[in-house]
């Protein structure tokens, strides 16, 4: 057999050259196999089949054209192979990329027009970010009220409220209908000052009066008078509208708030400050507890320590596998899982951070242990030291700096994570963000987002400085007296203990919750372990019988023949009458659901946890006629009593959920791919502006350089999850928002890394190529690009790894992909399905990590 690696096999004699291309045309890769290139043939066949399947599944039929191109190329390829030539793979790779990216845009619903059409809906977010709620002045208020009745009736009763006297507000008409425009006049207000108009409905809910969609304001004249037009809003829900011949008293309120005195922090600000402390406390506690657990775990996961005998080697593999599984599930996903176990709150968030920390640090620590230099151990042992002495004098000094550096690195990540963990749980700053977004309080939201950026930047800066110092080694030890050293150490320990206790309290650690929630947690764990992969399809069947309430309100059709059916103890009845429902001739021993089918079309269960038929297929329920079964005016169809059950039809098949998981896994991968590509495409040109050596030392050059650096650093401090929220407001929730957010996050991240590697390029080759008389463009292509390509690719692969992980969780806040479905399933307590999503994520993260590690090896 000719191996694929053999270069240009000579043409096989005695075989006609038209046969392989023809075979390839009929079966892709067939011709290649015919000339002995089995691997090439198989690869072509596999690629075409997979791409065709994806195109059909995702319905991107236009992409069949490039697929046809690959098909034709495959035939040409085998023709060339027969003639002993080795065609290049440029064309099929280009077409393949076209198909993959085409599928990506289809699957992630990329719609660039939404960037424009959605811009206005993002405006409030952006505007709010420029003016967060920080301080406010205490105010002196003028508030005027005037009643108005809606709608007008004859005769009009006295309004339920009187207008205020000082300041005085009058309205042009005593009553109006929704949509009418009335004129109000005020006097006795603060002169020449702005005020707000509010509409208060009969139950006291205020809303701002709108004018062309904007919140209406008024400005008083020098005498404190004003006139304004108010359009009567629909201030009462349809169900609360007054009946015919009735009216309701609404109020129009005009208010002015005149600030005086010194500024006070807003309530928003004090809440944000509280949550900053909580955020930092969560991260601190999770890091400290994480370290405590990770150290012993790391010893169990260190190859050089555990490879000695079969038992420890077994432990090594088990520990490693568990660490890898835990690590490949993002912290935010753990937060959702822990919320099921211990409930929403800081404690669950802390546990999620802690678990991920143990797994991540366990792995990093174990690698540090594996990298230990055996020399010093040998040397210390040679002095006759005992085992523990060897550890203290030869092992710990070697691993300590690395451990410390990794721990700081993790602390950094934990702070970042704990700022956003609140997006899925009630913990830290993220919770404020999501809560205020839901309440449309954008300025408050902006305050929280800015707080997150601040916390992240500060932690980022300080820990990178600290890490530098740790890795450089401490500066020469100053001579300090032993007592002073003791005092300093005691103070440090005391401070640490204090912060620890304080964090413990802020994180609301309640270990009893772990026990109390254990049944729910265990049930989830059990369901996670048993994936809902295969199911037998079911069809819903039902039998029903009408029940007019009250009697005579509607015709009752006569009972129809034999077979499955419902019989009732009443032909018709009144609300509250006792009723016996009997289902007969149903499938025996079948779970059924007995329901009221209400006259308005909705249904209600007659009893919860009901019911099951006996051997004869009969089920009986005693109840009373439900109040909502009553026919109100205008309804003609009487309510019914229905028995519903599910019958399996046909053989087992892959479950709906498993197919959904597969589909969403592909969407998630494509999201990560698109985001990485988009991010890189924008980051590459921008990074040149942030490279000191490219921008030179001229004044405009430096201004541009610092501008871009600042932009990158500022943008990097916006957490990707926060970007998802904003992008979901921009282009609508869904995969496109996720792709956009990830790409926007990647641009500054990659831009920074790229610009640093541009600054790092060797100027020698640039000089040499310039000296040959090459022009600038040629110098760029021959001296700069070859140096940058491998570094850029390595960074892009690294970002790709991160993006895969991120894209599994951005669905929690409207970014599409598998995370969205996971959260939904957990919310519905369908843990068997949610578990499948988790396993899919683990497999996805593992396989992509493996692939990119392999790719990186080949690059460097």
């Amino acid at each position: 057999m000719t191996h694929d690696a053999t270069p240009t096999p000579s043409p096989t004699p005695g075989r006609t050259s038209w046969l392989p291309p023809l075979v390839s045309l009929l079966l892709p890769g067939g011709g290649q196999a015919l000339v002995g290139r089995y691997v090439r043939g198989a690869a072509i066949l596999l690629a075409i089949v997979v791409m065709a399947a994806l195109i059909i599944w995702l319905q991107g039929y236009a992409l069949l054209a490039p697929l046809l191109g690959i098909w034709l190329w495959n035939s040409w390829d085998s023709y060339q192979l027969v003639r002993g030539r080795q065609p290049r793979l440029g064309v099929p790779i280009l077409l393949g990329a076209l198909i993959i990216y085409g599928l990506g845009t289809v699957a992630t619903q990329v719609q660039p027009t939404r960037l424009v059409t959605g811009w206005s809906s993002m405006q409030p977010y952006l505007r709010a970010l420029t003016k967060p709620e920080l301080f406010t002045y205490p105010t002196e208020d003028q508030i005027g009220l005037v009643p108005i009745q809606v709608p007008c009736i004859e005769p009009l009763p006295e309004p339920a409220r009187k207008p205020t006297e000082q300041p005085r507000l009058t309205v042009s008409v005593p009553c109006a209908s929704v949509g009418d425009v009335v004129t109000i006049q005020g006097e006795g207000f603060f002169p020449e000052f702005e005020g707000e108009l509010w509409w208060i409905n009969p139950i006291g809910d205020p809303q701002r009066v709108l004018e062309n969609g904007q919140q209406a304001t008024f400005v008083t004249d020098a005498e404190g008078r004003f006139t304004a037009q108010v359009k009567v809003p629909l201030a009462v829900p349809v169900s609360e509208q007054p009946g015919p011949g009735e009216t309701q008293t609404h109020l129009i309120r005009a208010e002015q708030h005149k600030p005086y005195g010194s500024p006070q922090p807003t309530e928003t600000l004090s809440l944000v400050v509280d949550k900053i402390f909580e955020t930092v406390a969560l991260a601190f506690l999770a890091t400290v507890l994480g370290v405590i657990f990770a150290v012993p775990v790391s010893f169990l996961a260190a190859r050089n320590l555990m490879y000695g005998n079969p038992v420890t080697r077994m432990i090594y593999f088990v520990v490693r596998t568990i660490l890898n599984i835990v690590r490949s599930i993002e912290t935010l996903m753990w937060a959702i899982i822990f919320a099921v176990w211990v409930g929403l709150g800081p404690f669950g968030g802390m546990l999620a951070l802690w678990l991920h920390t143990v797994a991540a640090l366990g792995k990093l620590y174990s690698e540090a242990i594996e990298a230990i230099d055996p020399g010093p151990i040998e040397a210390v042992r040679a002095t006759g030291a005992s085992g523990p002495q060897v550890v203290v004098y030869a092992v710990i000094p070697q691993v300590l700096p690395t451990f410390a550096s990794f721990t700081l690195f993790r602390w950094d990540i934990n702070v970042r994570m704990s700022t956003v963990i609140g997006l899925v749980s009630d913990a830290g700053l993220g919770f404020l963000v999501i809560q205020w977004i839901r309440l449309n309080q954008f300025r408050a939201m902006a305050t929280a987002i800015i707080a997150i950026m601040l916390v992240v930047s500060i932690i980022d800066y300080t820990s990178s400085k600290l890490r530098e110092r740790i890795l450089e080694g401490a500066p020469a030890a100053r001579q300090v007296s032993p007592t002073r050293r003791l005092v300093t150490r005691a103070a440090l320990v005391a401070a640490f203990a204090l912060v620890f206790v304080w964090s413990w309290r802020l994180a609301e650690v309640r270990l009893s919750e772990l026990v109390r929630g254990a049944p729910a947690g265990l049930r989830m764990a059990r369901d996670f372990a048993i994936p809902n992969l295969i199911e037998r399809p079911t069809e819903e069947r039902s039998v029903s019988r009408p029940l007019p309430v009250p009697c005579g309100a509607a015709e009752v059709p006569s009972t129809s023949g034999t077979g499955a059916g419902v019989s009732l103890s009443l032909e018709c009845g009144n609300v509250g009458d006792p009723l016996i429902i009997t289902g007969h001739d149903l499938p025996p021993n079948q779970d059924v659901s007995v329901r009221w089918l209400l006259p308005d079309g909705a249904f209600l269960r007659v009893q919860s946890n009901c019911c099951r038929t006996d051997e004869t297929g009969t089920v009986t329920v005693e109840t009373r006629v439900h109040p909502l079964m009553e026919l109100s005016e205008g309804m003609t169809e009487p309510g019914q009593v229905t028995i519903v059950w599910k019958e399996t039809v046909g053989g087992p098949r892959f479950s709906e959920a498993s197919r959904r998981v597969l589909e969403l896994s592909i969407v998630t991968l494509l999201m990560a791919l698109l985001a990485t590509t988009l991010g890189s495409l924008f980051a590459i040109p921008l990074s040149f502006f942030a490279a000191r050596n490219i921008m030179g030392k001229t004044v405009p050059g430096r201004v541009i350089f610092y501008g871009f650096r600042l932009f990158f650093n500022l943008f990097r401090s916006i957490e990707p999850m926060i970007l998802v929220l904003i992008c979901a407001a921009w282009v609508g929730a869904g995969p496109f928002a996720g792709v956009l957010a990830l790409a926007l996050n990647n641009i500054p991240n990659l831009g920074k890394l790229f610009s640093e590697s541009i600054e790092d390029i060797d100027s020698g080759p640039v000089e040499a190529i310039t000296a040959t008389g090459a022009n600038r463009l040629q110098t760029l292509v021959y001296a700069v690009v070859p140096q940058l390509v491998p570094r850029f690719l390595a960074f892009i692969l690294y970002q790709w790894d991160i993006n895969i992980r991120m894209s599994t969780v951005i669905g929690f806040v409207g970014g599409g992909g598998i995370g969205q479905q996971f959260r939904l399933w957990v919310g519905l307590n369908q843990y068997d399905k949610a578990g499948m999503a988790v396993w899919a994520i683990v497999i996805m993260v593992w396989s992509m990590d493996y692939l990119s590690a392999r790719a990186r090896e080949r690059l460097i």
Partner: protein, 257 residues
């Protein structure tokens, strides 16, 4: 004929690298430039092909003012001046062939060359250049897989692609061991004798100067302190250039020459 007239270079940070340096190089000479590190040798060489712009003074080559040239004219001048470097300055991740071909960029099509397209004649020339420096078999290797001596030979082959009239060599052997140093200088000597290429080469070792150069200039703190034949470079003169502390060191392995 290359004429350096009153050349002065002051760097933006105030360092005076060259102070009013004037001398002439006749066609076909092998001029050695000696001096301590930081005496201005590299700056001088880089002023000649304008990798560095001089602050004052002129460089005239066959009645062309190099210092006044710019744009296409400057690139054509550079095309005729080959240069090799102490650190070889190869693009390490590119193949030897690509590195050598890049010496042809001044002649190549400005657009096609951007996608690595060169004419068959250029390929022919590149193979000939590689054969001339004795590493034709390494054409498809990546440059960083080669030893230091081989890398410098790639550097020479790249410069040869320019079909230069002048060759600038900035301490071409300072990073190489003595045996390799001789072999590299012998290639330069061959180019100088057989092809009539003028060579300007900065060197550190007196015995190499004696062995290869036809004329010597010495720089000290940016000033020209010696100009003459290698035989005129006595121990005293040498100390003038290198300072009182200096001892003459020879490169071992001269016997292999």
């Amino acid at each position: 004929m290359l004429r350096i007239e009153h050349l002065t270079k002051v760097f933006p940070d105030g360092t005076v690298a060259l102070k009013d340096v004037s001398f002439e190089v006749k066609d076909g000479e092998f001029l050695a430039i000696i001096g301590l590190s930081g005496s201005g040798k590299s700056t001088l060489l880089r002023c000649i092909n304008r990798l560095i712009d001089p602050t004052e003074g002129r460089i005239v080559w066959d009645d062309k003012d190099i210092t006044a040239a710019s744009g296409r004219e400057l690139r054509e001048i550079r095309r005729n001046i080959g240069m090799i470097f102490q650190q070889f300055n190869l693009v390490k991740r590119s193949t030897v062939m690509t590195n050598v071909l890049s010496g042809r960029l001044g002649y190549a099509h400005p657009v096609w060359s951007l996608v690595h397209r060169f004419s068959p004649e250029d390929y022919e020339l590149a193979r000939a250049a590689l054969e001339r420096v004795g590493i034709a078999d390494k054409a498809d290797n990546r440059a960083d897989q080669l030893s230091g001596g081989q890398q410098q030979r790639v550097g020479i082959a790249r410069a040869l692609m320019q079909e230069p009239k002048i060759m600038l060599a900035d301490e071409p052997v300072a990073s190489l061991d003595p045996v390799l140093a001789h072999s590299i200088l012998q290639y330069l000597e061959t180019l100088n004798r057989e092809d009539g290429i003028t060579v300007l080469c900065s060197l550190h070792f007196l015995d190499l100067v004696h062995r290869y150069a036809t004329r010597v200039i010495g720089l000290k703190d940016g000033e020209l302190v010696f100009e003459g034949l290698p035989s005129e470079l006595t121990a005293d003169r040498f100390k003038e250039v290198y300072g009182e502390e200096a001892e003459m060191v020879t490169v071992g392995g001269t016997m292999s020459a």
